[in-house]
Amino acid sequence: MEQGGFFFQALVYLAAAVVAVPIAKKLGLGSVLGYLLAGIIIGPFLLGFIGEEGQDVMHFAEFGVVMMLFLVGLELQPSMIWKLRRSIFGLGGSQVVITTIIITGIAMAMDFAWQTSLAIGLTFALSSTAIVLQSLNEKGLMKTEAGQNAFSVLLFQDIAVIPILAVLPYLAIEGIVTDNSSSSHAATTWLDGWPIWGQTMITVGVITTMIVAGKYLIGPAFRLIARTDLRELFTAASLLLVISAAVLMTMIGLSPALGTFIAGVVLAQSEFRHELETDIEPFKGLLLGLFFIAVGASIDFELVANQPGMIAGLVILLMVVKFIVLFIIGYFFKMGLDKNMIFSFSLAQGGEFAFVLLSFSTSNSILSNDVANPLIAVVAISMALTPLLMLFNEKLIQPRFGTLEKEKDADEMNEDKKVIIAGFGRVGSSIGRFLQANGVYATYLDLDPDNVDLLRRLGLKVYYGDASRKDLLHAAGASEAHLLIVAVDEEEKTREIIETAQKHFPNLKIMARSQSILASYKLIELGVDRFYLEYLDSALRMGADALCQLGHRRYESFRAIKTYRKSIERFLHELSGIHHDRTLLISEAKKKLQFLEESMLEEKESFHKEKDLGWDASGLIRDFGDNKIN
């Protein structure tokens, strides 16, 4: 068996994921746990398919975390972050500081030097962005208060990594065996050799450049690429963008995750937001899965088996301390009990940054390998336990307090109901503007980059993308949306969009623009009841106006529009069954239209037709007429 081969490795990782994740999901354990279990199973201590190279895979897969932060950034408008500032710095700040102090204290009590203790404290204060965000997302908790607060804390931790990395080298202790093999994280950067003020200037300069580029350069560049109409080129450009942001940040000594996060936030308002999301998402998912597998595989069970009591004790100690600190902070920030539970359970683990910081510490003579190795195992196990703990909270603890988010008053206006408009040409934009005038802000998708650009300059939030693609509809919010308005002008595209939506988002109500009578029959066949012949209404209004010009009574003419339109719509339904047979269709349609014309005419001329008899005095005249009134 040739274990080193790339294909064999790919086979092992992919097979493990494909088998383990669906089983874990089926059992209600969530995908994160599935990946972790897959990792443990194929790891060196069970099946042994992957060995030491698991570490390299983990470094590679950490890029999944970087991509995830880019996507998180994309979801966040700068105004959102401003709103979250209190929880980012308040919650996040106090969590990092208090946890660091307590864990440092505990380590010192275990007779470690204060430098070592502080390093451990700082390392363990951080939680796992990857596991927490993925799990919260999967449970649909990201938009809740608990989810937002957890996210704020993680964001602060990501920022805190930078000063921690800067401080650690000063904690070096003489005499500790150093291991310089993993010094890659202290790679050379543009900042080397500059005094502090120069470093600050470079950092600020690079970040400013990134923001300006994001605002003014990326848009036109992507528009050019979109015009080539090559899907894979757009994907390549998206990846290039994320990787550039990560590399740029590494060059100035900041965490790549923070860099892509900033890039994401800058692009959150761009018209390419949904398209970027769609393109990056699968890469993120795969890499993140790989990362979780690597974490599972990296748990050193030999070490655990040798000192099971100590490892278990440390894991429990770590998680209990973190949980209590989070819970108390949550309490002071006035979170409800149930929300605080979700918040505290989700963040009570060591994070992927711990792996980085621990190896950084050993290479900087702060920790010896003997200390670092069990700690790595502790972090990995605590990460693996997190999805279980969240499940435990959800199934056993939450039901006891069970308030969760309060139900909304049924009479509140449905402001949360979302609308997606596919196709933002003449029809789509008229619908959209009308909705906006009534306080409904839809998400607009359009395929023509030039049109998107123009509309954006008019101040409309239009996104570039193909609404017939499931992933794009998903990114536009189709799974939570209430209504999909299909207003594109090609018949074929209309059908594609509707089929995609019906297949993947069965709860989405669909309204469709119909280009012609024949197109309407096809829409009826697709099961779309709400279709709108694009020309019918204005044609009938013109017709009614024409009647008025000829001296007909205005009210009567405009009432006739309604009768006529309703009849036409009824005929369309009645004729849709036979529309494949052209001859039959034509003769039937002719009959129906003739009947409609005759009946409307008759009604107009005669008082004895059934319609609107209430306004018709002929019955009265018969009863009370001639003899009595005369």
């Binding site: 609107d612 209430g614 019955g619 009265l620």
Partner: protein, 197 residues
């Protein structure tokens, strides 16, 4: 068990604090069909046949509406004009409504004291409602006194809840035939029935 049809008409329902409370839950009440006219016919294009069939299926007809200009909102007038056809509702062969009960649920900004000879409205509600009473009479229906919510601009939520309670009691009482119609004969308002009991 009698079946009740409520024809509800309010052109600016979203702004009506009182009516939101009053109608909440009526849609799901057993034996009650709640028919929101402005919601059913946004273009006032009332379907006469549909409406007539609906009325025929019920025993009690209720108009629930704000008291606009001493009458009903326009759609309810349109409904009467079109649906109450000669030969169906009245006149020769017009017996579709015979012996059904008819009453109104009204909301009005004016206080009770405004609706009397010395008040600024100069007439009582019952006097102002005589066109409805006579319509009901011509259609051979049994006219019951109206339940009137007064002072809608200023009443507190507690008072509205009390009205709502009376409204529900009225619906249940008529549906289950627990209200003795003879008790109502002497009453100006349905309100008095609850205040006495």
């Amino acid at each position: 068990m009698k079946k009740i049809l409520i024809l509800f008409a309010h052109p600016a329902f979203q702004k009506s604090r009182i009516n939101k409370i009053l109608i909440r839950g009526l849609q799901n009440m057993e034996g009650v069909t709640f028919h929101d006219l402005y919601q059913a016919y946004p273009e006032m294009d009332i379907e006469v046949k549909v409406e007539q069939k609906l009325v025929e299926e019920h025993d009690i007809l209720i108009f629930h509406h704000p008291f606009y200009w001493y009458s009903s909102p326009a759609i309810l007038k349109e409904w009467q004009d079109l649906v109450l056809q000669h030969g169906w509702a009245y006149g020769s062969g017009g017996n579709a409504l015979k012996d059904k009960l008819f009453l109104q649920i009204l909301t009005t900004g004016g206080e009770l004291k405004a609706y009397c000879q010395k008040g600024y409205n100069r007439f009582t509600i019952r006097q102002l409602l005589t066109p409805f009473e006579q319509t009901s009479n011509l259609c051979q229906m049994i006219y019951l006194p109206p339940l009137v919510v007064h002072g809608t601009f200023s009443i507190s939520k507690e008072v509205v809840m009390l009205y709502k309670k009376h409204y529900l009691e009225l619906l249940e009482g008529l549906r289950d035939e627990k209200i003795n119609l003879a008790d109502l004969e002497s009453k100006e308002y349905f309100n008095e029935y609850f205040n006495v009991n």
